[in-house]
């Protein structure tokens, strides 16, 4: 007979507990909700920042200007040689005409200046894209030194300062994200597990008494499990709400050029599911671990 009725009693008990321990339940839910929201917002911003930096990095390139009068077949040969240099990803050939077109596009307001030119004074050039792992000052300098020795190469331009700054920024952002991420993870796990633990400890004598009148461990654990699921579920929804709200507020007040920093890389439904799963794991694992202490013989 036992089993089927036990399930009924466990559910009733869970509902009664949530009702009787209203304040504790609310505190747990709010803690889970805010912790998850803070953590997710941090994750969101750091993912977006690293995406942006990734894009900037793609703009790192060396422009190789060629001497005037280079024969056509030499251009192809030179391009092949440059492609084979270590750390070079891609070589784009910019002819005199396309260089002029680019310049025209960029100087839209000063059309008259260019129209005045009779001859095209712009040199032939290669845009050399650098491999991700070579985007540091030393390594670029090494590539440049190799290119310098090549025949027909006139001049080179690679924004040394910019590369230096980029490398520094990259290192800083990586380190910052790591440190803050670790701190935040530890803090969130600590705060949530402590809240759950206190909620379980508050019911220590209740657990002991229930055990003394013959309840099985499963019978004692189950309501905590159900409550953990409930708190995690509501906490997860709350976190999702907070995040969407936060992003909304930011996107209304942040200048457009920074908007992509708070752009959501996943769909809201995926976000919600992830948060609910995380919340439930927090609620359930936390209370099961704390309960274990009271359920030994």
């Amino acid at each position: 007979m036992g089993r089927s009725y036990s399930l009924l009693y466990i559910l009733l008990e869970s509902v009664r507990n949530i009702r009787d321990n209203g304040l504790t339940t609310i505190v747990t839910i709010v803690t889970i909700g805010f912790s998850l929201a803070i953590f997710t917002l941090f994750l969101l911003v750091s993912i977006n920042i690293s995406t942006v930096i990734q894009k900037w990095g793609e703009q790192i390139q060396v422009v190789v200007y060629l001497k005037d009068g280079i024969p056509r077949n030499e251009v192809g040969r030179l391009r092949k040689i440059i492609s084979n240099v270590d750390g070079v990803d891609k070589v784009d050939y910019i002819s005199k005409e396309s260089a002029l077109n680019i310049l025209k596009r960029e100087l839209k307001g000063y059309k008259g200046v260019l129209d005045a030119m009779v001859d095209n004074p712009l040199p032939l050039s290669f845009e050399v894209k650098i491999n991700e792992s070579y985007r540091s000052t030393d390594k670029i300098r090494y590539i440049v030194s190799k290119l310098e020795k090549l025949e027909w190469v006139d001049d080179m331009q690679y924004g040394r300062e910019w590369v230096e700054r980029f490398a520094g920024l990259l290192k800083f952002v990586e380190l910052f994200t790591l440190v803050v991420g670790v701190f935040l993870t530890v803090a969130v796990v600590f705060i949530v597990s402590n809240t759950v633990k206190l909620a379980v400890y508050a019911r220590k004598s209740e657990i002991e008494i229930t055990r003394l009148i013959g309840a099985s461990n499963l019978y004692i654990k189950s309501p905590f499990f159900v409550e953990g699921v409930f708190e995690g579920l509501v906490g997860g929804f709350m976190a999702a709400g907070l995040i969407l709200l936060g992003v909304k507020i930011m996107s209304m007040n942040v200048p457009a050029m920074f908007l992509h920093l708070v752009a959501m890389p996943v769909r809201p439904l995926v976000l919600l599911c992830g948060l609910v799963v995380a919340g439930i794991s927090f609620g359930v694992v936390g209370s099961m671990v704390s309960l274990g202490r009271f359920l030994k013989v």
């Binding site: 009725y5 009693y9 209740e206 003394l212």
Partner: protein, 287 residues
């Protein structure tokens, strides 16, 4: 060595005195201790070495039969709490099914410790405890909860759940066993009337008097119709009249088949009800 007293007025004790004697010898037979012969078997109309040997052989055969009649058996049980002297030393006794036994002794004698060991709250430092045929020293978590389903315990400090009503407190004892809701309702109402607390069903324990809380604890222990009732000074907070009525209640429960072991230091009560007595002092059985 072994304390077996069959009360003079024990008309409801289900065992004949001679059978009691047999039971009392059983643990020593099991131990292969011939001292049983010397100390306990004097009442047998036999004598001499040969008779002793054949007695022991016979007793060994009889043991499995006798053992079925026992509800609680303790053999050489020792208990010492960490950092203090022994709370129990060399406790050996048996209680037959259907017996009513008073556990007596001054405060600090080890009564509570003994009851806790039988109930599986404390583990003995040494010795064997067999309750309803199951050896408690090898018991696991599940075994403890199964044991507690057939044993009712009235705690000295009641151990009621303050957030639940009287009704819910008593009902919980049945719910944890998985009794159907309808049965829970009728049984709880019956037992609350039985202890005179029907009008208090929806009160929280802390709004009741000490005596009323005591009776809630008793109702919770009895509602599952336990095979064994362990009660730790259940009359401690009551005036003599109420104390009498509680013991009378236990006597009725005992008459219906529940084995009762009740700790008390109330001498008048023991004399008045005149049942078997196990007397403790400083952790030892003294008579």
């Amino acid at each position: 060595m072994i304390n077996v007293e069959t009360s003079s007025g024990g008309h409801s004790t289900p065992l004949q005195p001679s059978l009691r004697k047999w039971i009392s010898i059983a643990p020593f037979v099991l131990d292969r201790k011939c001292s049983a012969w010397d100390n306990e078997a004097k009442w047998l109309p036999l004598s001499g070495e040969i008779c002793k040997k054949s007695f022991l052989k016979f007793a060994r055969y009889l043991y499995p039969t006798v053992i079925c009649l026992l509800m609680i058996q303790l053999y050489h049980v020792y208990k010492s709490y960490e950092g203090s002297s022994a709370a129990l030393s060399d406790i050996t006794f048996t209680i037959a099914k259907g017996e009513f036994v008073f556990l007596t002794g001054p405060s600090g004698a080890g009564k509570t410790t003994l009851l806790k060991i039988v109930f599986g709250i404390e583990r003995p430092t040494e010795g064997q405890i067999i309750v309803d045929g199951r050896n408690q020293s090898r018991i696991n978590n599940r075994g403890v909860s199964l044991l507690r389903r057939k044993v009712g315990f009235v705690f000295q400090d009641f151990k009621l759940l303050p957030k639940k009503t009287v009704y819910e407190n008593v009902a919980l004892a049945l719910e944890v066993i998985g009794v159907s809701p309808g049965e829970v309702r009728s049984k709880v109402q019956r037992i609350l009337s039985y202890v005179g607390l029907r009008h208090r069903a929806n009160f929280k324990p802390l709004s009741l008097s000490g005596g009323e809380q005591q009776r809630v604890a008793i109702a919770r222990a009895l509602v599952k119709q336990p095979a064994i009732l362990l009660a730790d000074e259940p009359t401690g907070n009551l005036d003599p009249e109420l104390a009498n009525s509680i013991v009378e209640l236990f006597r009725d429960v005992n008459a219906m088949g529940t084995t009762v072991l009740m700790a008390t230091h109330d001498k008048t009560l023991i004399e008045r009800f005149g049942r078997r007595r196990i007397a403790l002092d400083r952790g030892r059985i003294i008579g």
